[in-house]
Amino acid sequence: MSDDIKDKVIAIIAEQAVLEPSDVNMDATLEDLGIDSLGLVESIFAIEEAFDISVPFNANEPEKSEFDISSVESIIAAVRGLVAEQSAS
């Protein structure tokens, strides 16, 4: 289950970055992967659609969002949290 989340998020990010999923390192930032601001909001949209969750993210204050986008690993962790909340409610 958890690996499924990881694989799906990496697939979404890899698609945005035009990379193979195997080339997406867990500690990479979106910037490292060449994903710009539009690529970011597109990735978040794809994540919301894939997991049927709502991601709290405002591009004006990324640091204040509960959704941590500082690395691939942090994004996966944040998605896990939201998916867990979703199934709990």
Binding site: S37, L38, V41, I44, F45, S54, F57, N58, A59, N60, E61, K64
Partner: protein, 402 residues
């Protein structure tokens, strides 16, 4: 080249149903942004906007007109009536053929689209009202203004997102300056505050859930507004010969393209446009006393715009005032430059600089005099109005006292 002056102005927006109410709100630093009232608002993540409230179209238009006038056309006609009444012009004979209409808007009849998509997709009906096309087309407002007032000169609509109105007014200015027309009715309108309109903006994740706070360190996005403003631009000698009251002179305009990014603003592009407009106006940068900023309240726009102003004006950037009235009326997208030009005429005519309200924390990246929270009395001779649109399209107007 002919000189171009403004002899009439009209508006309806979240701050008021005419110019005097809007000016009063700008003087008082009143906020017109509040909870949105519309169908399915509970399904929106963003539930605030600068909505025109307490407006009942049936009190001003008859049933047949409402069937043809989308809300953006209604706002335009109400503003045009006020502006043309103030100018005191009667369009007959030669003047009718020497007068045109250039208006800006971005979404056209968004409410009409929204309602009729519901009809066919949600309600499953296979038939819509026969006037859907003439009601939603972007040029409907310009055409209805020309029909209501018998204006037979150059008439068209400009659609360049958030710069639509500034581009439209720049065109009107150039048409009179070059001698192509004597009078131009110009400005713009927008009515995108419907479920689909707000939903589309939500997707970009640049909207604020609580307030528009331009230049403030804690700003968290833009807030949409709606409404219109319309101006009568007139050739100077024509206005003087008939003893018209002149509100301001339009002295310069510049437009450029960043050729860079579909949503991110460019400091170089903005600075180049500001400098170009000042040059076109043949004034010294030091004469500019006030800038009505694009000031959307997004992280990206406000810091880029301040850096561009600093670039274009050098040391003088610290001496001029710059405010964003979007904090009060919201971002009217294609109509925004028109409503914001009212802050420019307010500055020139009344010596009142409209404030940037909602300002809470200084941002070192926006370290200009943003006229925080409270309007200021100041005599200014030359003012600018900035518009920097998605798509990297920039349009800046320069006005002066006469």
């Amino acid at each position: 080249m002919k000189r171009v002056v403004i002899t009439g102005q009209g508006t309806i927006n979240a701050l008021g149903t005419n110019v005097s109410e809007t000016w009063e709100a700008m003087r008082e630093g009143r906020c017109g942004i509040g909870p949105l009232e519309m169908r399915d608002v509970d399904r929106l993540a963003i539930q605030i906007g600068g909505q025109v409230k307490g407006y009942d179209p049936e009190t001003v238009f008859n049933r047949q007109q409402i069937l043809l006038y989308d809300r953006f056309t209604q706002f335009t006609l109400l503003s045009a009536r006020e502006a043309i009444a103030q100018a005191g012009l009667n369009f007959i004979g030669d003047l009718a053929t020497r007068t045109g209409v250039v208006l800006g808007n971005s979404g056209g009849g968004m409410n009409t689209l929204d309602e009729n998509y519901r009809t066919v997709y949600e309600d499953g009906k296979n038939r819509v009202h026969p006037f859907v096309v003439p009601k939603l087309m972007n040029n409907a407002a310009a055409s209805h203004v020309s029909m209501e007032f018998n204006l037979k000169g150059p008439t068209f609509t400009v659609s360049t997102a958030c710069a639509s109105s500034n581009h439209a007014m720049g065109q009107a200015f150039q048409i009179i300056r070059s001698g192509m027309a004597e009078v131009m009715i110009t400005g713009g309108s927008e009515s995108m505050l419907c479920f689909g309109g707000v939903k589309a903006w939500e997707g970009l994740r640049v909207m604020s859930k609580d307030a528009c706070r331009p230049f403030s360190a804690n700003r968290n996005g833009m807030v949409q507004g709606e409404g219109a403003a319309v101006f009568v631009f007139e050739e100077y000698e024509h206005a003087r010969a008939r003893g018209a009251e002149i509100l301001a002179e339009v002295i310069g305009f510049a437009m450029t393209s960043d050729a860079a990014d579909i949503v991110m603003p460019s400091k170089q592009g903005a600075a180049r446009t500001i400098a170009g407009a000042v040059k076109d106006a043949r004034v010294n940068p030091e004469q500019v006393g006030y800038i009505n900023a694009h000031g959307t309240g997004t992280a990206a726009n406000d810091k880029t715009e301040c850096a561009a102003v600093a670039d274009a004006f050098g040391h003088h950037a610290d001496d001029l005032m710059i405010s964003s009235t979007k904090s009060m009326h919201g971002h009217l997208i294609g109509g925004t430059g028109a409503v914001e030009l009212l802050a420019c005429t307010l500055a020139l005519r009344e010596g009142v600089i409209a404030p940037t309200i909602g300002y809470e924390e200084p941002d070192p990246e926006c370290a200009l005099d943003v006229v925080p929270n409270v309007a200021r009395e100041a005599k200014v001779e030359v003012v600018l109005s900035n518009a920097f649109a998605f798509g990297g399209l920039n349009a800046v107007l320069v006005l002066s006292r006469v």
